[in-house]
């Protein structure tokens, strides 16, 4: 029927118009989901975490989301973090990106967040909860293994090896130590001493290192498992003027760079906190979009005195803003 045809045509035109306007609409605003994420880290005033936040903010502008950083001012106040996670749950963000200061202590707040329907993405430090979305950060066990291998390669003297770790219950500390001990066990030249914990406190690290050196005359090398432990250890070694004991560190801050230039610090393994922040947000976005996401390991770079001023490494050691 002619008339029916006309009506169908009219309907088609109408639908076309609606479709067209819808297209306009989505062209204007479709890309912007406007997710809000809470990034909870271990120390807002600290360079490493500032860098994580920079990466997160870069990802936020790429994916058009908003990311706010929360955390205790310094890493040694890690006990505050559980409360910060609970505060975050009350804000109902679309996702929480968390660097857990304590493997077990944060398990309950994380579970609370998950129970509240907030996905949790772990960066840098994992938590004792299998229901988090993913882990984004350094493969800490591998980091420990690499540290052990470098130590074995670069230390000629036989003797004892001290380990200065940071927070005893923190997952990266556990993993790094595990990787380190597993790798060094095969090398019979070394006997690894009991681990000491500096709790991300430089002064405590210095003190513990001093004690180690005093108590173990056969000490040939020290492995410091994070930035503050290694800074404390380097200070102690530098003050003692002890050039016999070699120091191998994870992370390198400007002060350690000085020690590295002076030969106190033999080698540092650099992590890429910027990648952690960036990929953490990216993982959260992709998860919310319904994609399958998995753990993502960020880069590790071994740096020594000869390479520390290379373009990439000087950026990692001496950030523009400091």
């Amino acid at each position: 029927m002619k008339r029916a045809g006309m009506l169908i045509l009219a309907a088609a035109v109408f639908l076309g118009i609606i479709g067209g306007t819808w297209h306009l609409w989505s062209a204007g605003s479709g890309a912007k989901k406007g997710y809000t994420f809470d990034l909870i880290i271990k120390g807002t005033s600290m360079e490493f975490w500032k860098r994580v936040n920079e990466g997160a903010q870069a990802a936020a502008s790429t994916y058009h989301v908003s990311v706010t950083m929360y955390g205790p001012a310094v890493e040694k106040d890690y006990a505050q973090q559980a409360g910060l996670v609970e505060d975050s749950i009350a804000r109902k963000p679309d996702a929480i990106i968390l660097a857990a200061a304590d493997y077990r202590l944060l398990a309950k707040p994380v579970q609370d967040a998950i129970d509240a329907g907030i996905p949790v993405i772990m960066v840098d430090s994992d938590v004792d909860n299998s229901r988090t979305v993913a882990y984004v950060g350094t493969d800490n066990e591998k980091l420990g293994t690499m540290l052990a291998r470098q130590l074995c390669q670069r230390t000629d003297a036989f003797g004892e090896v001290g380990v200065v770790s940071f927070v005893k219950e923190s997952y990266p500390a556990v993993q790094r130590e595990k990787g380190f001990r597993d790798a060094i066990r095969s090398d019979k030249r070394f006997a690894v001493l009991d681990t000491v914990y500096a709790y991300s406190d430089v002064a405590k690290g210095e003190l513990l290192t001093k004690e180690l050196i005093d108590q173990h005359p056969n000490l040939t090398a020290i492995a410091a498992l994070n930035a503050w432990s290694s800074e404390g250890a380097a200070r102690a070694l530098s003050k003692l003027g002890n050039s016999r004991i070699r120091l191998f560190a994870i992370d390198c801050m400007p002060e350690e760079a000085m020690y590295m230039e002076e030969g106190v610090l033999s080698l540092a393994l650099l992590q890429n906190p910027y990648q952690m922040g960036y990929y953490g947000i990216e993982t959260a976005c992709r998860y919310l979009k319904g994609e399958t996401v998995g753990n993502r390991y960020t880069d590790i770079y071994p740096v020594e005195v000869g390479t520390m001023f290379d373009d990439l490494y000087q950026q990692l050691i001496f950030p523009f803003d400091s």
Binding site: F14, T21, L24, S26, A27, S29, Y274
Partner: protein, 594 residues
Amino acid sequence: MVLTHPSRQPGKADPRPKHIPSFHWNSLWVIMAASTLGLSLIAVVAITLVVYRHADAAINHSIEQNNAQITENVSASINSYIKEMVSISDNVTSLLGRYSAKELNSKLVVFLREDVETIAVFDSGGKPVVTTDKRTLRSDIEITRQSWFSGASTNGRRYLISQPHVQRLYRGEYPWVITLTRGVSWEEGGQTRSGIMIVDMNFTRIKDLCSRDLENDGYLYITNQQGDVVYHPKQQMIYAGILPEEITLASALKEGSSVVRTKDVQRAVCVKSLSNAAWRVIGVSSMNGLAAYGSGPGPYIVLSIVLLAVAILAGSLLLSREMLRPLHNLMALMGRMTGGEGTELAPVGGVYEVGQLGDSFNRMVARIRQLMVQVRTEQEQLHRSELKALNAQMDPHFLYNTLDSVIWLAESGDQKGVIQMVLALSKYFRLSLSGARDFITVEDELQQVEKYLMIQKMRFGDAFTYQIVCEPEVRKARTPKIMLQPIAENAIVHGVGTMEEGGVIVITARRSGEELELAVRDNGCGIKPEVLEHILESDAGARSGIGLKNVHQRIKLACGGEYGLKVESELDEGTTVRLRLPLRFEQAKKEGEQ
């Protein structure tokens, strides 16, 4: 909106006239409204798109201009900044000749500013000759092996600007600087010595200049002439291997402003080379046009189009209803007329087409009326001729019999009887003919049947008696003529005629409610029930009862279907035939006279 195939709805068949027709998908109203809406929406969307594109292009143009402007400004700032540094180095160079190194140290303090990290002169062996501050230079680094030293030109007129790098001249300090180096020579102890002068500029200053926010996710970055990144606000991303795309963006571009299109965005890119350093400042802004404003104009446009659509829909519904009002009025009038009300349409004014339609309809209705009258007349004429034919069918039948009787009486010499019979016959025919009238009074009808009975009684040798009773009230009532005679004839032939004697025929005329009832009763042999059952059916076939059927049909034709005969009979008891007729007086008389 889902349109189904337009189907006739049950209401459509309803012939009742309606002023406002119920809703139909295929009504002119809907079609007009839909097409108006469709056309207006197409127009609105088309205009919107055109305007949108235009505004988009205009905004993109202004973004591009803005981008170029800022890039220009920033590169000018960097240029003048570097120029300041160069002039510092010039001043230091000129001072070098006049003062000794020791004197110079105190003089150089005036050149120190917050953004100048170090001013120093090294001799060709890398030994510091002049330094600006109290901080002691590190002794553990080999100055000659630093890239800024080894790459420097000893030609005093040329200066070099290094890449940003971490300077490590002082213990524990690692500032990001750009190092300006130039060859210098000075007199010392009668000897001409040459060396390298450095001015370390804190990179923060240039970084801050480049951090000026451009609109629309815009940013500035600096490359050297080879395209290597000197500074990029997302340098970290580059080192993290995340953002490779835009780094190569400008390397191939010529000086000036251009538009670069990547897979999902187009960007305004402005490249400006510095005159004082081998650098290119590159400004990048996304050209997302109107979408740059908040969440984009989409919601507003869609909202306004939807509102417009609603307004247009309402407007077009009202407008088309207004336009179709004369037509709807006409429809309603036509409906009423086809329903039987009214005789003619009032002239439908206003719209020409509708007026014409109304006129045509009027003409058509008039014609139909005319035809209807014609048909009715023809029908009546047909009835009348049929009636006449029935009358005529009756007459000869009786005439022959009577004439036979007259002959028989004459032969038997009964003169008196002959006279009596002929008189009765003559009276009978006068009443029968009674002009051309079909209707006569009950009185006349009874008189006629009496004459008939009189004749028949003589013929049958007084084998029966008859009696005629008439209520005075109905005497002047109208009845079709020759109704009773055929029935009386039947009563004689099939009833009392077969009896030796004692037959009685009673004819009555009376009022029964609003009807006139004529009855003929005999006490003859009666009718068999099986015959009685079909006696009035027109195709009963048998000759018997032909008179009854005639009368029955004539009554129906003349007075209407609800009237007619009713026959009651019982074997050996007798038969009663009742004629039910409308009780009519004056009016019937008139009709009958027509």
